[in-house]
């Protein structure tokens, strides 16, 4: 939780419109699922910071990595940065995933949902878990970091919508196929909201605890403005709004009120 200025170490394309950014930043520790709020430019357009998940972290060198897709002016600005340039960052922010020890886990990444799950995979393996990593993408050339995932020692399962690699179809279909036989103790997912809703329902059906990382438009990133609220059921069953930035971005899947989102 700090405001700092980081220096670009590397920043290069690694897929269609997808970049990997490495920043030198005074971050002592962070955990998978946390994010950093980056100022994109110095003017008023874009105005707000942009949240990016921590994709990897090297505590020795104090370097953090991001994996991001260029979708608008903030990420386009980021993509144009070159080594040595400075970027203002706020974070790490939010609560990360709660990582168990020595369990059987499924990590389910849809598209850019891979960003935080890569870091999570590293930590989960380090904590003695056996990890199956489900990566879903539009097509083969959208697949990300396959080799490094394999090197981490996870079992990698691929699904592409066009069938150009791995299973043909949605990553959630692949998970549904395997969920009964695999006997997971926990599921961790990040990706488009519709995908997460399916993961949540699969997890509920199979009585497997699941943690999902949600996205919402953000302003402060600190829990102050209530701008990033998502509908969450409290333990007593009452509906409330919680902040993705400060109470998330990771929520227990069964607590998310999937049906009452505003869009």
């Amino acid at each position: 939780m700090a405001l700092w200025v980081g220096e670009v170490v590397t920043n290069f394309p690694t897929g269609p419109g997808i970049y990997r950014l490495r920043l030198k930043a005074p971050i002592e520790e962070t955990k998978p699922g946390q994010f950093v709020h980056l100022r994109c430019g110095s003017g008023y357009d874009p105005l707000l910071r942009r949240p990016l998940s921590i994709h990897d972290f090297d505590p020795g060198k104090q370097e953090i990595e991001f994996l991001y897709r260029v979708v608008g002016k903030g990420t386009a600005w980021l993509a144009a940065r070159v080594p040595g340039e400075r970027i203002s960052g706020l974070g790490p922010l939010g609560r990360g995933f709660v990582v168990p020890f020595g369990k059987r886990l499924a990590l389910v990444a849809g598209g850019m949902g891979l960003a935080p799950l890569f870091f999570l995979a590293r930590e989960a393996v380090a904590q003695g878990n056996r990890v199956t990593f489900y990566q879903g993408a539009r097509s083969r050339n959208y697949l990300l970091r396959e080799r490094e995932l394999a090197e981490l020692g996870v079992e990698l399962e691929i699904a592409t919508e066009d069938g150009s690699a791995g299973f043909t179809g949605l990553v959630t279909d692949l998970l549904a196929d395997q969920i009964t036989s695999q006997q997971f103790d926990g599921i961790f997912a990040c990706g488009p909201r519709d995908m997460l809703a399916v993961v949540a329902s699969l997890a509920a059906t199979h009585l497997i605890p699941a943690q999902v990382s949600l996205e919402e438009h953000m302003a402060c990133g600190l829990g102050a403005c209530r701008g990033c609220a998502v509908p969450i059921y409290q333990e007593d069953g009452n509906l409330t709004y919680e902040n993705v930035c400060s109470e998330g971005p990771v929520f227990p899947a069964h607590r998310v009120a999937w049906d009452v989102f505003g869009r």
């Binding site: 100022r39 707000l48 919402e216 438009h217 302003a219 402060c220 403005c225 609220a229």
Partner: protein, 306 residues
């Protein structure tokens, strides 16, 4: 060098405070900002009962602006007093509690109850929230209704009353003068402008609530104009806000007549914005050999010096 300003009987060590709703209840910013360095602490709007707020998405960025439809999410009066006030009381700057009601009686009840709470230095009466169905902006849109709310609050409290006005009116001066007559001790302006954003790909409004309030640099010219007009038309002091991002922005509001300024959207971009603004004002005075910030207030020159 003097940065102190007086406002509705409060003595502020400097004229910079957070704009309601952009600084939570202070806690969220406490690790970034020395709250003791601020001119005042202003809370998010408090309602009598807890409010869930509006469905997401609640915010969307617009060119140089921010559109929000938070909808006054807050824990309600009693939880605020119980859970938030003890933290705020730990700091020296006066605590200004912002209140919002759905009825005139609710405003009065909030004011009455807060008058009993130690540490509350003043009330900012939000009659200008564009994001709620009942009350809010509806009260601030007509001089008579606005005056009615302020009168009702005036009757039940001796605390200084700061009326927070909306710019979404034909004649903000008429509203300002009406609440002045009704007993307001100061004015806050401006609240957000009503706006809308459309997701052309999905062909839907971006905000869950369809409409929201526009803040940030985009609205600064509108805010400056409102403050300038109102400050010349009333005797009570004005807290100016709307798009203040830097010390020079703050200076512009002081020049057109604001006695103090509030910083909103800038906090959301940089948690240290207010500290930098205070520092920048100090530097400006020093570099221009001005010993008292009050000499700046309202000192805009209107005639060409040629």
């Amino acid at each position: 060098m003097n940065l102190t300003v007086e406002l509705a009987g409060l003595k502020l060590q400097n004229p910079v405070m957070p704009a309601s709703g952009t600084f939570g209840f202070g806690e969220e910013y406490a690790s970034y900002v020395d709250l003791n360095a601020l001119g005042a602490l202003v809370t998010k709007s408090i309602t009598l009962e807890p409010r869930l707020g509006n469905p997401p998405p609640r915010i969307v960025e617009t060119p140089a602006g921010l559109l929000n439809s938070i909808g006054l999410q807050n824990p309600g009066l009693e939880a605020f007093i119980r859970e938030k006030m003890p933290f705020l009381r730990r700091f020296r700057p006066p605590i200004i509690v912002n209140i919002a009601g759905s009825t005139v009686d609710e405003y009065a009840e909030l004011a009455r109850r807060l008058g009993e709470v130690p540490g509350v230095a003043a009330l900012e009466v939000n009659i200008s929230c564009p994001n709620v169905k009942e009350g809010g902006m509806a009260f601030g849109s007509e001089p008579e209704q606005a005056a009615e709310v302020i009168q009702a609050v005036r009757r039940v409290t001796t605390l200084p009353i700061i009326a927070k006005l909306t710019p979404n009116v034909t004649d903000i001066v008429a509203v300002a003068q009406a609440v002045e007559r009704a007993g307001a001790d100061a004015l806050s302006l401006i609240n957000t402008l009503v706006g809308m954003a459309v997701d052309w790909e999905k062909r839907r409004p971006v905000l869950g609530n369809i409409v929201g309030g526009l803040s940030g640099p985009a609205i600064k010219p509108i805010a400056l104009y409102a403050v300038w007009r109102v400050a010349r038309s009333v005797k009570i002091p004005v807290i100016g806000m709307g798009g203040i991002m830097t010390a020079t922005d703050a200076l512009e509001f002081l020049l057109v007549g604001a006695r103090a300024v509030a910083v909103g959207t800038a906090n959301l971009v940089s948690p240290q914005a207010m500290l930098e603004i205070i520092e920048g004002l100090r530097e400006y005075l020093m570099q221009n050999n001005i010993d008292d910030i009050n000499k700046i207030i309202g000192s805009l020159e209107l005639t060409s010096p040629l």
